[in-house]
Structure formats: structure tokens, C-alpha cells
Symmetry: C3
Subunit: 203 residues, 3 copies
């Protein structure tokens, strides 16, 4: 089961990296910008988590495979840009798998550092959506995660249920359950077009 | 006296969180955006300070009461949004109290980590105004603190006088003095409409 | 040779600080904004590097001379603003020297922390261009380094060749070589108007 999460982790890194690289195309950045946005979208969330928890150097830098897969995602986007937009649904599914994986591993590492339940939910969510927020900040936009979509909400739910789940089931099954829950919630949200209520008007 | 600062700290967290939550309304974000901007405005300054000083995990995450009060500020803003704008002066006063408290505690922690006087002023100021800067960055705006108002200046003054004050009076009275000085300067600035000179034109 | 790099380091800090301070003028910030942008442009890259590597407190804060030279750069910009724009070429050369110095010292510190080659290139580049990216983010712009110019590319090349160079020549000569390489590449790029290819259109 852990091997499955490892595979999903690399799949998620590539999906996130492609999403960042596509943003660089949208913003007409240069080649370096494509690699930086891909890298940041895929790895900045985990780097933020490690910086908050005091893990040095962050795993996403010290483990050479993570950067390589992120750079690979950008290279794929550059080479196959004309075709990649036809795989929108495949990308959204891979992104949902990445969201679930990053939430589960983030929650596990947070609990490992003896955070309280709010802290676990926070670092799980930052691991999963922090990279996308950095992508949007570097693109001079309000992070999309704050504006619409049921995207960060599954990661917060996953983070909040992880600590009680661990005391019931142990680490391994809880990590897998959170992964399944977050990915499933995200996929349902995508196909049902769930959104959180907007604010900003009298209500 | 320390108990007083603890109360002021929670008051400041709620005032800062309400200011962030109101910004989320202004920017028409969704519900999650309200909580994220409230949380960031209230707690990101202290988190940055702890990241710079190597305090892991940051107190604003490991102490569960700080996030809870920040989330409470957002909840209050959502429920009482129609009324809260009538309490503008009360909010500005609470914000000034938060500014003083965060500066004083930030300076104390900085000195505790044996920073030089410039470093103490820096972390005191980051503790107090860093959250508001994150709020503005997430809202896709130039941080207001860089553009106008006599807002960060009192925090820098407070941070610069803290180390010499401690060698005269000891920690407790110095912390209280810095709190009083910063809050008073900020309130005078508010009512006298003090601003730093602008640049950008021939002068 | 190390003394030379120390001199170049201070020259780079002042050049970077002046570049940030000029941006604050362009954006019509207030006096505080000038100092904050100057400080961030000169020192935020090194602070990010130290945060990623777990160096506490970051050298750019704990060593009082670095902040002082950064603040001096802002003060010079404020006093000599009318004249400083006539020294554009001098500033670009000083900036290129800063770029080379920051890359070389960043690579050295990264290798010192036993990073792999990708990690060394990453922290070398962040040290050199991270401050400019913070300057642009605080100015509500897409970091220029992602959009055009052959600016970050020399720092990545310098970071990538540093580890193999060290195993051939040892630390001292490698640091000097990387400095010379990066600064020379940047100066050639400036005068030849090299740019990376843009993306965002069918290609």
C-alpha cells in the first residue's frame, strides 16, 4: 500500500508540475518561468510544510527524484503543449490523486511532529494546496483556492480526521483512508461542480 | 502585567483576523478565503518570526488557542458582517492594541534569541506587520504598510528601544513599556492622520 | 581572494538594495517602502537560503553589517535619486557582480550542507535571484526573472558546475571560478541582449 502511495506521489508531482507549466504558458513567461512555475506548484507546498516543521533541508530538495519529476512535468508540457490541452480530464484526475496523496503524507508528517489536530489539518492542507497558491502568487493572481472550487476543503477535512483515525486504525490504514477520502471528495466535487459559498455581498 | 499582555494578545489576534476577513469580503472570496485571510493576517507575522528564529513548530500553530481565536474572528465577521462596519473605531483601537502587543512579544523573543538591535527591530516589526503584508499579497495588492500610514514605523521604533530598555529596566517592564509606546504612537497617528512622506517624484 | 569576495558581497548588497529602492520610487511607495524594498532585494534571497538550510538566525539578520549596507543603499537612493539614474551602466555592472558573488557563496553554503547537485543549483540561484523576486512580488508584479532576460540562467549554470568543480579544484578556486563565470555570462548577456525563448504561443 505504501508503494502505491509512492507511485501516486510521483504522479501527483507531475500533474501539479504540468498545471504550473501550463500557467506559465498562459502568462507568456519564458522557458525558465515554465520550469520555476512547474517546480513551485509541485514542490513548494511540501517545502513550506518542512520549513514549518524544521525538517532540513526540505525533503523536496534533498531527495533528488522529486525535483527531477517536477522538471520532467515542465519538459513534457513544453514538448507536448499542443496536445496536452486535449487531456484535460486526465490532468484533473491526476491532480485529484496528487491532492489526496499530498494531504495524506502531509498529515502523517504533521502528526509525526506531535502537532495538535488543528496543526495537522493546517500542514496537510499546506502540503496539498500551498504549491498552487505559490503558482498563483508568482503569476500575480489571487490564489484560486481562495476564490472558488471545492479544492482545499477536502484537504482540511482529511487533515482533521487523520489524528482520530490513527488512534483507531494505526498509521498505515489511516494514511490510505485519508488519501481515498480526499481524492474521492475532490473527484465528486469536480463532476458535481461543488463550490463553497462566495462572500462579499450582504447576506 | 503579563496576564494583561496575554489578554491583549488574544484581542489583537481577533482584531487582526477580523481585518483579514473583511478584506476577503472586499475581494469577494469564498468562505475558505475568509478563514485563510483571517488566519494569515492574525498569525502569519508570528509564524514568519518563528521560522526566522528556528522555533519549531511555530507557536502560532503548536498552541491550539491562537488558531482558534483567529478562526473565531473570521466566524464573527461572517455572522455579523452587516453590523461590524459600524464598529470601525473599535476595530482600529483593537488593531492598535494588537500592534503594540505583537511588537512587544516579538522584540522579547528576538532578544531571547540573542539578535543584535537591528535584528530585534526586524523580528518585532515582522511579528506585528507581517500578517497584514501576507493578507495584502494574497489579495493581489501592494502591502498597504509600504504605501501609506504611520503603521510599521511605531513597531520599528519599539523594537529599536527594546534592547537598551531591557538593560535599564529588565524584561517585564520593558515589554510593557514597548507595548504602551507602540499602541500610543499608533493611536496618535490614527487621530492626527500622520503619514510618512511618499517618494516617487522629484524631491 | 576571499577578501575580494567579501568586498564584492558588500558591493552586491548595495547594488541590489539600490535596485529595490528605485522600484519603490517607481511604485510611489513611502519612505518605509523604500527601505523595505531595498532590504528585501538585497537580503531576502540569502534569508530564504538559510531558512531552507536551517541556519538560525539567518546570517543576513544576525550579521549586523549586511542590514546596514542594505539600508545604506536605500539612503543613497533617497539622497541621490535625481543623479542615480545617470549611472545605469554602473548599476548594471555592480548588479552583475552581486549576482556572481551571491551565486558563488550560495553554492558554497549549499554544498556545505551536503545538498545534491540539483539542490546546490537551487539554493545558489535562490540566494542570487530570490531577493529580486520578493521585490517584484511586494510591488505586485510577476517576478521579472520569470519573464525575460538571461538573469537567473547564469546562476543555475554556476550552481550546477560548482559541485564537480570542487572535486577537481577544491572550495576556494571553485567559488572564485563560479563568481567569474556567472558575472561574465551576465555581462555578456547584458551587452549582447540575450534572452531565453518566450512561451505561450503555439510553437
Amino acid at each position: 500500500m505504501l508503494n502505491l502511495l509512492t507511485v501516486f506521489n510521483f504522479l501527483g508531482i507531475m500533474a501539479f508540475s504540468i498545471s504550473g507549466s501550463l500557467k506559465a504558458f498562459e502568462k507568456k513567461l519564458d522557458l525558465l518561468g515554465v520550469f520555476v512555475l512547474g517546480f513551485s506548484t509541485a514542490l513548494a507546498g511540501g517545502i513550506m510544510r518542512d520549513v514549518l516543521l524544521g525538517v532540513y533541508p526540505p525533503t523536496n530538495i534533498s531527495n533528488v527524484y522529486y525535483p527531477i519529476f517536477a522538471l520532467l512535468g515542465s519538459a513534457i508540457t513544453i514538448v507536448f503543449y499542443s496536445y496536452i490541452r486535449n487531456f484535460n480530464n486526465a490532468l484533473l484526475i491526476a491532480d485529484a490523486i496528487g491532492l489526496g496523496t499530498f494531504t495524506a503524507t502531509g498529515a502523517e508528517i504533521g502528526l509525526d511532529h506531535r502537532l495538535n489536530i488543528v496543526g495537522v489539518a493546517l500542514v496537510a492542507s499546506i502540503t496539498a494546496v500551498g504549491g498552487g497558491a505559490v503558482r498563483d502568487l508568482l503569476s500575480n493572481e489571487i490564489p484560486i483556492v481562495l476564490r472558488r472550487d471545492f479544492y482545499a476543503t477536502p484537504t482540511i477535512i482529511g487533515g482533521l480526521i487523520f489524528p482520530p483515525l490513527v488512534s483507531l486504525l494505526g498509521i498505515g490504514p489511516s494514511t490510505l483512508s485519508v488519501f481515498i477520502l480526499v481524492t474521492t471528495l475532490r473527484l465528486i466535487a469536480l463532476f458535481k461542480k461543488w463550490e463553497l459559498p462566495k462572500v462579499g455581498y450582504r447576506h
